[in-house]
Amino acid sequence: MAEALIDARAVVVAYAARRQFLSKAAPPRPVLHGVDLTIARGETVGIVGESGSGKTTLGRALIGLLRPVSGSIRFDGREIAELGEAAMRPLRRRMQMIFQDPMSSLNPRRTIGRTLTAPLLLHGLVDNRAAARRRIEMTLERVGLPASVLARYPHELSGGQRQRVGIARAVVLAPDFVLADEIVSGLDVSTQAQVLKLLGELKREMNLSMALISHDLSVVRAVCDRVYVLSQGRVVEQGRCDLVFDHPQDAYTRTLLDAIPLPVIDPTWLDRQAPGAAA
């Protein structure tokens, strides 16, 4: 395997119970019980599991949004599990995230242009607004959006366009790693396919490492090189997508696979009468 960009070892994450005034804090509730995960440069890894299995928590720990209780997370050889918010900030540009709901992940009171410009200026990737604009327009063109969206507010765009803006926001910073958390589950099927295709192209062009979190195994299979199956905060199975999906070793993986609705073709479908319709 190529050099690992992200190397997580024995990661334990626990959510502290909310402390009430003048009362003892409840013990933290562990969500991840020692997860190991590696992502190589240019590799796309799927993280699957049902709701509550800890896949979103794992993803957020990987990009330093959550601090693990114990364990180590190395990003490009550097330990980030211990870093504070301020020490983390210079690394932020290199690890980006695409959200499930592009509507709520875009500030409703900002135009797309302002949303995309501010991070470029923050990280000093461009010298001035004109350079930012050029770079943003190139990125927009790459993700299939016209430059006219820059003047719009998020609610003026369609769901697919908004998700493309979300992708543009992540890739315009030229990151090394992108976390994609359920990014197509809010889109209709044809838009899903376009967005996944775009993501695959960007990944190849930019040699991106990606973690794709999804409950939809067919999405993971279409895009990912390797897959991790998470159940109740533990990795129950991992390996190359084709191997895991064709020869699942763990009972939980089999249950997940069995839950995929298979298309059953009914040749008489077109001739069927709606119930109660006149003959």
Binding site: R19, P108, P146, R152, E156, S158
Partner: protein, 302 residues
């Protein structure tokens, strides 16, 4: 597929820019009560600004020979005194017009001061949580246990009477309204993905709080400030009524009500005119605030 996308983009491009603001304004102007209330408040502002030009008489000019003249249309009324005169022969209409100055000064300055104090505390409490939230929340709870009128009288008694004391009293008492609402709204906004996104992009906490969250709290805040202006007008009137606002040579509605109460059987209009002005002004602020809330609050729109 590409053609479909292009057509859609063209349709989007043809739409007017800044649609959101325009639609909020339209939602605002579609409410008749907002138009009436807003118009009334604009009228009050003009009266306050141009009081010396508009008022028919000097509000302090006493003329004992024309005392307690009734308003126009009643028996014994004299031309030029549209709302009659008080027991010292001062023109009620002119005093009413000059009274808008104190009322509006207090309404605007006190409401903004209370909003500033409460918003800053509410933002920090809602965003940082933990100890900051605990301190602010306890402070709010303790604060709200004080009877507000007594507290304001206490503050004015300590600071001495005057418009400035009244403004300080209102700000110190009413910041809790803003702190509570802003805290709750900030907590809700802080959970939104766009805040997580800002963190992922590398923005600092203060930048997130003031540049991402505050603009999304602003609509609720604007409505609340307007409602607070109505409350400030009432509080000022109460303090004037008990003689703790400005000195008696400055006409105020509360002072006029206090004075009119003593001669209510001889000259009811001295009491009724400022009361009506007070009522209409507070009603206008409340209606405008309610209209703003309806037009701008995303929760009520969705």
């Amino acid at each position: 597929m590409a053609e479909v996308a292009l057509n859609h983009d063209a349709a989007v491009a043809a739409g007017p820019p800044k649609l959101r603001r325009r639609s909020a304004l339209r939602a605002l102007l579609a409410q008749p009560k907002v138009v009436f209330a807003g118009g009334f408040i604009v009228l009050l502002i003009l009266l306050a600004l141009f009081a010396p030009v508009i008022a028919p008489h000097d509000p302090l000019d006493q003329d004992l020979l024309s005392g307690t003249l009734p308003p126009a249309g009643f028996a014994g009324a004299q031309p030029g005194y549209w709302l009659g005169t008080d027991d010292l022969g001062r023109d009620v209409l002119s005093r009413l017009i000059y009274g808008t100055r104190v009322a509006l000064t207090v309404a605007f300055v006190a409401a903004f001061a209370a909003a500033l104090l409460g918003t800053v505390l509410g933002l920090f409490a809602g965003f940082y949580g933990g100890a900051v939230d605990a301190i602010v929340s306890r402070l709010v709870e303790i604060w709200m246990a004080f009877p507000p009128v007594l507290l304001s009288i206490l503050i004015v008694a300590i600071m001495g009477s005057g418009v400035r004391s009244v403004i300080v009293a209102i700000a110190i008492i009413d910041w809790t309204r803003f702190a509570r609402v802003v805290r709750a709204e900030t907590m809700a906004q802080a959970k939104a993905d766009y805040v997580v996104a800002a963190r992922v992009l590398g923005f600092g906490r203060l930048a997130i709080l003031f540049r991402e969250i505050l603009p999304n709290v602003a609509p609720v805040l604007l409505a609340l400030v307007t409602l607070e202006m109505g409350i400030a007008v009432i509080v000022e009137a109460i303090l004037s009524f008990v003689g703790l606002s400005v000195s008696s040579d400055t006409p105020t509605w509360g002072g006029m009500i206090a004075q009119g109460r003593q001669i209510i059987y001889q000259a009811w209009w001295v009491f009724a005119a400022p009361l009506a002005a007070l009522f209409a002004t507070v009603l206008a602020f409340n209606q405008l605030g309610d209209g703003l809330r309806r037009a701008l609050d995303p929760v009520m729109q969705r």
